[in-house]
């Protein structure tokens, strides 16, 4: 039962609960119109303390396609946050007006703190600093299921900024619940996965894992290659960003090393890490992935509000 629950971290839901959610998401993909009045009279609040295109728009589009309404802010300067209001006070105020809320925040753990002050409104983490981004994972997993049927017994490559890449952390955390997962983690030494992911998730769950600094030798065996952007906003030092930002670029030449069913995913936005020419390759699935994000967020809203 997901009614009234928060989704702050992939470990908040059990495997069975995720199954229930994805089963509904598949129904939404097949016939979105069927749900067009499901959330009539309901309000979604979007609290974006950090810029976003896909996540905010897809949540807003999801709620509008469900027949609900939206309130919120897309940058904190247009709210009382600019006056120094605490997260605890903001979220308790929002609970007076909305039925469900989504929060993106640059500080890690901010949605967890907010959730501790709520009495009944479900809260969804839409990305907290370089930490977690569980609804991007929902998008990624729905895409995996639509392309290959299921999540198990597959090889997942992750490339780019694995240290601050919150989408990578949430994806790996989710995968750790499943059997037969192999991970190939490609990044510069400085941007490898954080210790808690290596120790608490990968090692504790005995997941087969290789860490490498080149993608070509491993591309053929991958079912999915998940490219990520080196994020300027996570660096305290601009020089480090410039030195690392173009380390891995996936282009047409490198795609020759990939298998015929090695699909390329990316949480977007992209900067230089995937050349535009790759967009025309049928294995490039990142724009379809963005569309799937709206469907799975529709399913999530329906579940957390207890409508389905």
């Amino acid at each position: 039962m997901l009614k009234g629950r928060h989704l702050i971290d992939p470990s908040d839901f059990s495997r069975e609960e995720f199954r229930e959610l994805f089963d509904l998401a598949h129904q939404v993909v097949k016939n979105p119109e069927q749900f067009s009045k499901s959330c009539e009279g309901k309000i979604l609040a979007t609290l974006f303390y950090e810029p976003s295109t896909r996540t905010r728009f897809s949540f807003e589009a999801a709620m509008l396609r469900l027949g609900g309404s939206i309130i919120g802010f897309s940058e904190p300067n247009s709210s009382s946050v600019a006056k120094g209001e605490s997260i605890a006070d903001t979220i308790r105020t929002i609970e007076c007006y909305a039925d469900i809320a989504v929060m993106r925040h640059p500080k890690e753990g901010a949605p967890r703190v907010a959730s501790q002050w709520l009495s009944s409104m479900p809260l969804i983490n839409a990305g907290d600093g370089g930490h977690q981004h569980p609804t991007q994972t929902l998008t990624d997993i729905l895409t995996v299921e639509l392309l290959k049927g299921n999540v198990e017994n597959k090889v997942y490559g992750f490339c780019g900024d694995l240290k601050f890449g919150r989408t990578v952390h949430s994806f790996i955390k989710f995968l750790s619940k499943y059997e037969g997962i192999r991970l190939i983690l490609i990044s510069p030494e400085e941007l490898r996965v954080p210790e808690y992911i290596r120790e608490e998730v990968i090692r504790k769950n005995n997941i087969q894992c290789i860490e490498a600094d080149k993608m070509e030798p491993y591309m053929k065996e991958m079912d999915f290659l998940y490219m990520t952007r080196v994020q300027r906003e996570r660096f305290f030092n601009e020089e480090d960003y410039i030195r690392l930002k173009d380390r891995f670029i996936l282009d047409k030449e490198k795609m020759k090393y990939a298998g015929p069913e090695t699909y390329i995913l990316h949480p977007l936005p992209r900067v230089n890490e995937i050349s535009i020419e790759v967009d025309y390759d049928p294995r490039a699935q990142y724009f379809q992935q963005a569309k799937n994000g709206m469907y799975v967020r529709m399913a999530l809203i329906l579940k957390l509000l207890g409508i389905y």
């Binding site: 500080k107 890690e108 753990g109 901010a110 703190v113 370089g130 210790e195 120790e199």
Partner: protein, 143 residues
């Protein structure tokens, strides 16, 4: 051997690794105490060779999570009428609240001052802990 008279009512913190008694003395703010406290350093110990001991001639609340975190082998004896009435066995705590501060500048606790600093035990041997909010792993100061 130097004799320190026994206390009538209070607490004896025993089996402190030699050399760390003075640090623990300051951590527990015993230098500010207005009751009798004795710090014994380099006492003979069958188990440890040398050890430090703190005797507190008063009933005070000790933070056993804090003591277990810095060294679970320390023992605490509660004294009444000159005899030991209770031994407190320390253990490495599974969860600590406001004992360790999160040092990750990206953690929400760095800006939301009212949020408790909550840590969960990751590895009892290394005594490493994970921040509940940002998942940063820290190894707190231990003795």
């Amino acid at each position: 051997m130097l004799q320190i008279t026994s206390i009538d009512k209070g607490i004896v913190i025993d089996h402190i690794p030699a050399g760390f008694g003075i640090k623990l003395f300051h951590y527990l703010k015993l230098d500010k105490a207005d009751y009798t406290v004795a710090l014994i350093i380099n006492a003979d110990s069958k188990k440890m060779g040398k050890k430090d001991i703190i005797k507190i001639n008063n009933e005070i609340d000790l933070d056993v999570d804090f003591l277990g975190l810095i060294n679970p082998n320390i023992t605490i004896n509660v004294i009444e009428k000159g005899t030991i009435v209770r031994k407190v066995k320390l253990k490495v705590p599974e969860k600590v609240v406001n004992v360790i501060q999160c040092k990750n500048p990206r953690c929400v606790t760095s800006i939301e001052g009212y949020a408790d600093h909550v840590f969960h035990l990751v590895d009892p041997e290394k005594r490493s802990y994970r921040c509940e909010y940002c998942d940063d792993i820290v190894i707190p100061y231990t003795i």
